[in-house]
Symmetry: C2
Subunit: 98 residues, 2 copies
């Protein structure tokens, strides 16, 4: 039987906040700036971009900066908004169910 | 023969900036707030803390927030300072030598 990892609320909050911020900044660059275009601009595969926006990928620091570059943003600008309501008390638990 | 990865300057700039910011905020919490103490406060092993401070680890988003929690900081505060001089043009290359 395949194990499925269930993310704790805090982890999912964080990944969702990251994806939402990505999508907001991508949309600010215009309707034609698709996930595929962001992939090209950041040097990452469009599936990676899609996963990150949906909050299903725990992105690394280097990938984060690639995405931010692709969005023509900066680290300070990217993280200034949207990350203050994460349930950090619940960041540490992970669960597995079969 | 063992392969050794040489990080591009941009990647190393980024990991160094992260480690430096960690260390600055850790030191602001007092001389007794060691890497080991930060490890306990963030739920990460002290070796992980040591690697991250030395810029030898490409930390993930979830680990980043654990560290920031351990420092009693916030994502927006952590990333507001120290990340603006990274050589992003050179972020994409990796080299391997034998």
């Amino acid at each position: 039987m395949k194990k499925k990892e269930i993310l704790s609320k805090g982890r999912q909050d964080l990944l969702n906040a990251f994806g939402k911020r990505m999508k907001t900044l991508r949309n600010q660059k215009g309707r034609k700036f698709s996930q595929e275009k962001l992939g090209e601009a950041s040097g990452l595969h469009r599936n990676y971009i899609s996963d990150a926006e949906r909050g299903t990928r725990n992105v690394s620091l280097v990938a984060i900066l690639k995405i931010i570059n692709g969005l023509d943003s900066s680290i300070s600008e990217f993280f200034a908004v949207g990350f203050d309501n994460i349930d950090t008390l619940n960041l540490y638990d992970t669960f597995s169910v079969e």
